[in-house]
Amino acid sequence: MLEQKILGIKTEALERIRSVKDDAGLFEFEKKYLGRKSELTGILKGLKDLSQEDRKKIGELANAVKMEISEALEGKKRELKNAGFDFESERIDVTIPSKANGYGHPHILSIVQREIEDIFTAMGFEIADGPEIEQEFYNFDALNVAKDHPARDMQDTFWLKPEIQNPKSKIQNKSENILLRTHTSPVQVRYMEKHKPPFKIIVPGRAFRNEATDATHEHTLHQFEALVVGDGVNVGNFKYIAETFFTKFFGKKLEIRLRPSYFPFVEPGFEFDISCTVCGGRGCPSCKHTGWLEVGGAGMVNQNVFVSAGYKRNAYQGFAWGFGLERLAMMKYKIDDIRLIESGDLRFIRQF
């Protein structure tokens, strides 16, 4: 009986709220259905006179209905309020340019270097560092470059004038020649002198070549070197790592091609190409219609280099691998003049 009544109130209230059109109506409605003198409030007040069983049952129902009516009222209030807001009068032209806060641009080589570092560190490589001004020993001798190798000429390498030695220094008579490292490879030997295999390292860094600059040549370069040494490290492993790296770096499946080459610090030595990132290997102007892009040099570490670093001959196997950041950046972003990279020109820097 009482239940019927409550449900009746609900039906009536929910029906009535639909026709409310203004604040006065809202007030009337609230007073009638939720007010102190409303029927529902009366029922709730009278609960105490019911049996315990009924009190629970009726109480729950009445409260639920009260809640439902309140929500309907709130909903109506929001509806009436929103309806009064004139959005149209606030319309703006969203195409008006905004004043940008601006942001800085990391250098393109920093960007490329990060991408490379991230890919390699995800594969468990450690990042190693070494000096940019090097001893002839680490740059050449320790890497199995013969004493009379043309690379040591003045035309290819920047040499430093002997420093005026500190008279108190013990090594003042040491006639060690100093140069600007021509590659990041000296770090191989420096690292191996202090660490035992197995290890996987990468060495990003600046290197210098004494050659005239033009659109494709720079005397200041940034190289990337990878060195993996362990028990059975082999050519197949190198191919795998190289494929993985380039596929991630260029974001598409790439093939690696090894060609015979010669670098004194590796044997066997390779030149490695990747399938053309522009045409995918079918042949296009970017790859001079060969389907391949030449990327860098690599090879299995020459046992003489292990010996220079203090390892026993034939105790380990490893591969070393190097390439230029500039070249990768130029390939990835289709830059046609290497000199822009160290020009400091913001019109260039801000493009990346």
Binding site: G104, G124, R347
Partner: protein
Amino acid sequence: MKYSYNWLKELSGTKLSPEKLRGLLTLRSFEVEGLEEIGQELEGVVIGKILEITKHPNADKLQLTKVDVGKTVLDIVCGAKNIAVGQKVPVATVGTKMPSGLEIKAAEIRGEKSSGMLCAKDELGLGEDHAGIFILDKDAKIGMGLAKFLKLDDVIFNIDILPNRAHDCLGYVGVAYEITAIENREFDYDYSGLELPKVKSKKLKVEVADKELCSRYVGAVMENVEVKESPFWIQSRLAASGIRPINNIVDATNLVMLELGQPLHAFDAARVIGGRIVVRRAKKGEQIAMLDGTGKILSQENLVIADTEKPLAVAGVMGGLDSGIDPRTKTIILESANFNAVSVRKTRVGLGLKTDASDRFEKDIDPNLAEKAMVRVIEIIEHIAGGKLEGIVDIYPKKVKPWKIKLDLEYANKLLGENIPFKKSVLILKSLGMDISGKDGELVVEVPTFRVDIKTQEDLIEEIGRIFGYENIKSQPMVTPLVSAKVNKERFFERNVKNILAGLRFDEVYNYSFYGQKDANDCALGEIKHLELANPMNPGQQLMRVSLIPNILKNVRDNLRNFKSFNIFESGRVYWPNGGILPEERKIIAMAVILEQDKSAETFFAAKSAASDLSGKLGIKDVYFDNFDAAPSDSLLGLWHPGRSAEIKVEGMDGKIGYIGEINPLILTLFKINRRVAMVELDLEKLMEAADVEVEFEAIRKYPTVLRDISILAGREIMVDGIMKNIKKSGAGLVVDVSLFDIFRKEEKNSFAFHIELGAVDRTLESAEIDAVMAEIITGLEKELGAEIRK
């Protein structure tokens, strides 16, 4: 080097097309940089046989011919006198475009039909000879293309021979070895059959005074040679490899050089005084006129070939003008020698002469080649110049013999990462001219002496790997222990700094690591001892930088042409001499701020904000800016504006972590920069040390704070930092924050206005308590700083 496909084909017997061969050579041996087809321009010129010659009815100087060109017989009018019935001649048929551009058309010449042209050599672009029609060999096939007959249709391979293979592959035989090995065949060339005849020369004496620099000297005398033009096939072979034909003797030496990679030289025996060749170092100041017409002054570094009186040639580089072959030469002395590679290189660099001979000698060739080449050149000269060998001298004190290397094929497969059958590996080595003994993969390999590059087991493994084909080696994941890589903290930190600076609107530049003395002087760094390059590109790049600022100022100057205001930074190394083996390299972060307008040091304070934000983001709490402690050792001081610069320090750390300031305006003038430039220079390592702090949570205040403002007048020597510190000190722990909101100069004093935020962690402050603290603060300012409180 350029290689003729026809010649390579003849030597190696390859049946591969040029394109196929190119692909395989690139993958297995050397990169073939280009293919160039030649001989195409003579398309349409065929071999014809003259059947009939009659007089032209209307012209005395012309003749009518009937020429059989295979498919048909042509009527051709010809003016040359050297033709005869039965001769084979080149016929340019109708439609042929001649090298001169002339197109052959059917025509009537003085009323007689002519459908083609009989050609002279010059008309075919085959020389300068216009003496008459080019008469071909009797056995030339009628109707065949001339280019094909003369082997002019060739493909030139431009092969980039690797430096460690120059000693054998700057000769066709070396490349032919590669080709046969690639095709799994053994090379069929009678290499060991090339032995010197045992005829000792009676007319030539050879003395090798410096056996270090000349390990072998083979001399031969040939008499009664007739110096003339070489046969056409020799000329075209030389031309295909980019060598200009000279005369038959010189051409023969060059041909053998191309074939075997051994440079040779021919002297006119009549010009060799005393019939004696002396191989010695040049005397200081000795002079020689070279074959190319230049004069050279020699030094003791240079090895020369001399007679009893004077140098005849610079050994291994170039012959002299006086002793060269000329048309009157009758007796020649041939030289096939081995000169020290380093010495040849130094000499040719020193004299500025680079020749085909020096290119080969400086790559350290096999002394046994000298013999082979001599046998070949004698053979050829006898054939083409009619000469006769008088005798030979061979000085070869330390004979080089084939050497042996142990090779473990298990190891080879382990290094290559592929299971190459042992039989296959043995075959590969044999095809490259090695002798193999041993079994079960434990081999002893005897290396032929021309493979100077093969010294170790790994060298042999490379031969197996490349001929097997690197593309046949499968890529395979590495199996390594899973260890977390050590983090390179400094790199990681540097990257973080760069990220923060990008967020602070700084663009990153990379500059060279050097600058010039003028830059150093302009930046007041001229007195500093820099490391210096012994061989800079130019004087502007001679000094190794001790500061990033000079090059950044150039960036500022250049970018001001395009931008009104900008922020840039560089992260790079500076190099300080320190008396050690290697200089000290320090990583520096240098930031520059340039604003469009600066009325009251906005540029400086923008830089200061950036420095504060950077250190704040790095977690460095107590950064402060201190007056320059102008120690005389501080050699970089001159860069900065003396009144607008400071050291950047961190509470609790010794010394400074960097500098901040405006660049000295006098320096900016030298760089033609008409703006203020404020810079921050931070030492990365010290910055990292300062940032190595643990952040500890501080409870969020539960009780309200109150703001009080205070205005004071203080002497101009009183700095804001001092006032704020004083306020905090007097505040009995209740000063939460002090901030400056106004400052202006008032007569000889400065007026400052501060907000002071007061509060306690455990209670709401009573107003009496607040008044008491403010009174303490005021007293402190008055007594300790002599400040006057403005009401």
